[in-house]
Subunit: 476 residues, 2 copies
């Protein structure tokens, strides 16, 4: 039976100015994790969250994570671990978010002060962290408060994990998640992460898949030091010549990966999946707008979405050690390192993919007949993630979207990686749902980052509604 949420919705609307004020306070704390000088602000932001949560009656721990590996004198900001409710009769939902933000300076081109939440007449609320990820994090707190003020029983136990280093590689978090999987997170029946975005601007989505990423380096070295191309050109075998030939062999202009053993691992498209793409709220025009160009590989939506979500792709990122400045320099670089990565999808295996890459690159190099030395290796690898969108966790979220937004959500995957998703799935063994609050135009890492007021307020309703459906949704 659908829960009656009219009282909750009315309370959220009534408290909307208060909730915007809470977001304003949070945006005012410049919790930039990438800048060591801002570390006290990051810590202050964690403490702000802890205080707010305690005021709402949650039990809170600020868990230290030790020193930052690349800056051994610097303490990592603490993880906020909180619990609201401990009723064995209720389901327990673990939610994740982050309270740190990307760097921002007015001089980068912001229309407003980045650390002052500025609400425009059209409802855009500009400010660094508004959508990524302070709005969604506060969404959970606001949902608790609206229940309390409306006198409605909170439908679940809520476990919260809010970190302060997401924009700097989530330093230290994986270890914590793994260690707490059977401890602090042990009661979780499902996981919900609100840290991504709708595919467009009008239709909400639920995200059930992400691609993985294997990042490779190819080093070619020859002479002991850089050479002058006048003196040595024509007499020495040049590492750059070999490297560009290797990089050119990896993928074609149409995006087709030339490495045998990759396509063979990709899960076949099922009839079920085939039917899924047409309904998705996405147009090629939106993509052209994002690109600022019409240089897409495919002309149609379905091929494009499949290429982004469910097929691997290979990108050549650059070359280290070669001449990269403007102007002209007649250097023969002695050692050059090409960088490329493969976005991976079900059912690709990391090791099998690595071996296919290594063998192919070695074969291409061998055919060059070069006297130079070549090494190929993975800099880092990360697995893809796909959850079951038929799980009760997704069904609850889908019903909540329909209730709040009057539309069935798109079930989407994403081309990028959110490594924490997989970490939570592996540590808890529970279904993980990505439930975005903001829209595709929010500009998370750009200047003029914003969260629309509508997305924030309706988003608070959505999070609360989701929890009520979690409480009611049958196991199967």
């Amino acid at each position: 039976m659908a829960p009656n949420l009219d009282g909750y919705f009315a309370e959220v609307d009534k408290l909307s100015a208060h909730f915007i004020d809470r977001l304003k306070k949070a945006v005012a704390i410049p919790s930039v994790s990438a800048e060591a000088a801002r570390r006290p602000d990051v810590v202050r932001m964690g403490e702000f969250l802890a205080t707010e949560l305690k005021n709402l009656g949650a039990t809170v721990e600020l868990r230290p994570l030790g020193k930052q590996p690349d800056q051994p004198a610097l303490d990592l900001p603490p993880v906020v671990l909180a619990r609201y409710g401990n009723d064995k009769a209720k389901r327990t939902v673990l939610v994740y978010g982050h309270y740190d933000v990307q760097p921002a300076e007015k001089s980068d081109g912001w229309a407003t002060e980045p650390f002052e939440l500025t609400v425009a007449e059209d409802g855009r609320m500009l400010g660094r962290g508004s959508t990524d990820d302070k709005g969604p994090v506060l969404g959970w707190l606001n949902a608790i408060e609206a229940h309390q003020r409306a006198g409605i029983d909170f439908p679940v136990n809520l476990l919260m994990c809010f970190e302060g280093m997401e924009e700097y590689g989530s330093e230290g978090l994986d270890d914590l998640i793994a260690a707490e999987g059977k401890k602090f997170f042990a009661d979780a029946d499902a996981v919900c992460i609100s840290d991504n975005y709708w595919l467009g601007t009008e239709k909400p989505c639920l995200t059930y898949g992400l691609r993985g990423c294997n990042y490779y380096s190819v080093e070619v070295s020859g002479p002991a030091a850089d050479l002058h191309s006048g003196v040595f050109g024509g007499t020495a075998q040049e590492p750059m010549t070999d490297l560009v030939r290797i990089l050119a062999s990896l993928v074609d202009t149409g995006g087709k990966i030339q490495i045998p053993g990759i396509a063979e691992q990709v899960a076949p498209v099922t009839a079920d999946e085939e039917s899924l793409y047409d309904g998705i709220s996405f147009t090629m025009e939106t993509l052209h707008e994002s690109l600022g160009a019409t240089t897409t590989i495919f002309e149609d939506k379905k091929s494009t979405l499949m290429a982004r979500w469910r097929y691997p792709s290979l990108s050549v990122h650059g070359i280290e050690g070669a001449y990269s400045a403007p102007g002209a320099k007649t250097v023969i670089p002695a050692k050059v390192i090409g960088k490329f990565s493969i976005r991976t999808v079900p059912n690709m295996e990391i090791e099998r993919t690595n071996e296919a890459v290594y063998k192919y690159v070695q074969d291409v190099f061998a055919k060059l007949g070069s006297k130079n030395t070549m090494k190929v290796y993975a800099q880092h690898t990360g697995k893809w993630w796909v959850a079951s969108p038929n799980h009760w966790n997704f069904r609850a979220a889908s019903k909540a979207v329909e209730r709040v937004w009057n539309v069935k959500p798109d079930f989407t995957r994403e081309g990028g990686s959110i490594p924490v998703t997989l970490s939570f799935e592996q540590a808890t063994g529970k279904n993980v749902l990505l439930l975005p609050m903001g829209s595709s135009t929010d500009g998370a890492h750009s200047i003029n980052e914003k969260l629309d007021k509508r997305n924030y307020i309706e988003g608070i309703k959505l999070l609360g509604t989701y929890l009520h459906h979690v409480a009611e949704e049958p196991q199967v």
Copy 2:
């Protein structure tokens, strides 16, 4: 008839401590042209030369060159234009050198203070500028002084052109040379430049050819801004994919240029030339030592020298706009600029070569079927230079080498460019000779730059002897 030079040689030997002291004074002036803060030192070095020349009885002008184009507040150092002797019955030789030096700091790894000439027991005279090019420049002054002190008539009129910006692109010099070709340089019967090095360490050489250099950029652009490879990988055509394919098509590991219309322009090897290489004092071991590796294209000396001197070569230098730092970044660069250059040789024409490059790159790009935009253009071009080694100017120098060093010199070409050579040839219409003083191990642009005492003192004898042979050598 060979001139009697015993008195001159004895005088040079007698004055050797004085000549080394003159070089010590010159090295002590840190005339680094690339550093604006050192500009007063560069000017002071020009004034030092002017004073020394006046003391020797030369007429001297310090010719201003205006402001430095890339630093409009900074005056270029003056060119020292000097004349010693004005006897219409004598031949007139124009000599060029430069009094500025490469940057140097003790902390770069120098064994000694770079701006203190330090004479080691084995005769190495360490110091920035010792061999490049203060030693050779002072060589001309020392030759004048030794003639005066020995009471020997100076055999020619000497025109001198010493610049202070050679290590920073010879800013302003080309215009001056062109303007003075029929004025200050009008009397010149031949030109001699001492600013290069022997091929090895034991046998002097005379250099009669240099390769030219055409430097190209290939720009490929697609999206309006850099993209995230997770979000866009597989959906957008990537400029880097196209660029590495273009760069890979230019040259192979064996150094063979793949562009039609280049090899066709190369002058055929004559029987005369064929016979020339075997006698040259050069070994593959020396090349391996310079490379710090055995990754040479050819296994034999003759093919190697021909590849360096008389065949074109193509080097890929790097890529601007792509990711070039250490580590891993999952970027799809929006616009990338590949840089490559072709070393040119007789009878390649600049325009014909450019057109062959443009057409080839355009054809390769067209075959990719890419929606991206591609531009290819020359950043700069410079013609090769080859003089007649049978000219009396070279015959005079060859006889001087035999007299001083008791060995016939190697007649060499070089793979690199010394653009001023061609400028003097074009402005004067006269034969230009490159007459090196230092040896291949002097490390002109490196730490621990040195000039061997033997090369300096015998070099002074060589320059003087050369002038005597210039005076006597018949026209044909």
